[in-house]
Symmetry: C2
Subunit: 361 residues, 2 copies
């Protein structure tokens, strides 16, 4: 069949020009006579590409030179554990701001390695709003403060990096990295699984302020130490070479599109249109999130009558709209609007939703 | 340019039919209207594929049902650490058989998590032969015995699973898995980075006897526990979906080729031809490894005059023979002859070597 509009929360849509280029180059990359997957990561061609990918990311995100960029594996979930292993010593505590499923899981996976202080938690509010900054009970002696900038399941997003004083701010940006310009210097460590806004799954991007690499750590195998990965240009062992390559194609595509300011504009336009369609549906559709903190990336919504869910999913799929089923934790629907999802896809979704509500209203 | 013959040690050559199929399906996989990389790992299509890939591997390797198969990340190097984390308790020791660079590294990375007993070591012999089984100083109370069945850099290979009694035998098979039939029941745990005989880098295959999943372990994040991965069908978090898919295409290709017995025959024929060419070169080329334990997968060799190395590499590359440079640890040349390297490639290499020796002899 022809290409569908893909609203998957992750692994998610990739830019069509990126896929087309990867397809063209699959058997013979960069004049080598072999696939990029068949190249030694120690070879000149691959090393040159890897360095260019990092340079493109640094340009896109305006990453200061005192930050290292790592191309890692294991998913963000592995780094829920590796971050305290690398940033906290024995007996240290860290502050976690819990604003949805993923930040809650980050705190729970960290607990083996650091004393977890839940400094704020909106669970009792069903994660429908952000805990106000003035309510956070931060510990000035914490090893770090952890947030998830965007909650993929619950659909809430920080609009700005919160001020946490001199304690390093650690942010899981898996689902909104590269969606708008940010000030990297506000963060101690940024990490993101690739499978939403970067590339295929199996790659994790880590941006870490270099002084944090110097923290004394507990005994661990070298492979778990960020400082070792940084010292070896993320080639301490064989990296995910295909993921690194695809990330590079995505970064090139973002540069051609005008960089992160252009993406911010496009993402605002897409999410505003969809939220407006939901809010103006006369109650047929609804999104319960506090308006100022609605996610630009993941839009969960429900139908006024959940008995219509199965028909909605079946008909939307038949209309070429893929992966609208909500996460099982909250049910309903979810449309993920990452960078690779074009405005046309959102228009098609809105048109379908309007038609569906008219037929079933 | 056209496709070259690729002798890379890893990431290594992939079967051409696998690459061609991946290329055809890149934009629209399995009638979904999206790439396999754009599918949720929780979606029906991906889950069905993942299960089929495991079933194909079980059929190819004749894996008994009391073994779990895991599709992991982090490279074999990460599992150098995770294996003792999962198989050894506090105060336990494990026996390591050191037969080259990789088994030495496995022992060194394990040392944070288990008391490492080097039960045999051929380093003083420059790893040119295997330490005879009767010399191994095994500890009957060891948590496990670790070997690397094939040493990718040094070019020595176990011809059979050694008898280690009732202690579980753990084997790094990164560079010779799927190259011939083996008796899985001789092993407690088999692991292999994908980037040699399975698929792209960023995927690690683990085959573990289920009783070993029950061992009491030290406190650790769930993501490091093999038992958690087994209980969640390797989808505890987002797996490397592209790697899993490519592995599946490779397994299908292996089945079409006649399975592992056919590959064993082909691999024996390829390596025998290359070793014969080296041994019959009148000393122009040489491979110093004890003949019975020469690797069928990685053939290191030197030129009688290392001043010719640069010319050999330059001319071989010009002749469409890629990645023959030896590992920096031992210098010289290395030809890796994994499953995806056809006999024709070896014939082309031998013809080139003969011609080169005539011109420079």
């Amino acid at each position: 069949m022809s290409r569908v509009w893909n609203f998957s929360a992750g692994p998610a849509a990739l830019p069509l020009p990126v896929l087309e280029r990867a397809q063209r180059e699959l058997l013979d990359w960069n004049g080598s006579g072999a696939s990029v997957m068949e190249q030694s990561h120690r070879g000149k061609r691959f090393i040159a590409m890897a360095a260019q990918v990092e340079a493109d990311l640094r340009e896109l995100m305006n990453i200061p030179s005192d930050y290292a960029v790592l191309f890692e594996q294991g998913g963000a979930t592995q780094h829920f554990a590796q971050i305290p292993m690398n940033l906290a010593g024995e007996g240290d505590t860290a502050d976690y701001i819990v604003t949805g499923h993923w930040s809650e899981k980050a705190a729970s996976e960290a607990a083996t390695y650091v004393g977890v202080n839940i400094a704020a938690n909106s669970k009792s509010e069903n994660y429908l709003r952000m805990p106000p900054r003035e309510w956070w009970k931060l510990n000035p002696g914490a090893a770090y403060v952890h947030i998830a900038t965007n909650e993929t399941i619950h659909g809430v997003e920080f609009q700005d990096a919160p001020d946490v004083g001199s304690v390093p701010l650690v942010a899981d940006m898996s689902s909104d990295i590269l969606s708008c310009p940010i000030d990297v210097s506000r963060f101690g460590l940024i990490y993101a699984g690739a499978q939403k806004n970067i590339g295929p799954s199996g790659l994790v991007l880590i941006i870490i302020r270099r002084d944090l690499l110097e923290r004394p750590v507990r005994p661990m195998a070298r492979i778990f130490r960020y400082a070792e990965h940084a010292a070896n240009d993320s080639m301490l062992n064989t990296p995910n070479t295909w993921g690194w390559y695809l990330a590079g194609l995505t970064f090139e595509w973002l540069k051609e599109r005008g960089g992160l300011s252009a993406m911010a504009e496009e993402n605002r336009k897409k999410s505003s249109a969809l939220y407006a369609a939901i809010d103006n549906s006369g109650g047929f559709y609804s999104n319960p999130i506090d308006t100022p903190v609605r996610s630009r990336m993941n839009v969960p919504f429900t139908l006024h009558d959940s008995a219509l869910d199965a028909a909605f999913l079946q008909e939307s799929e038949a209309a070429g709209l893929m992966a609208l089923k909500g996460h099982k934790a909250i049910g309903g629907m979810r449309a993920s609007l990452y960078n690779a999802v074009p405005y046309e896809a959102v228009e098609a979704l809105i048109a379908f939703m309007r038609d569906f509500s008219q037929r079933h209203g």
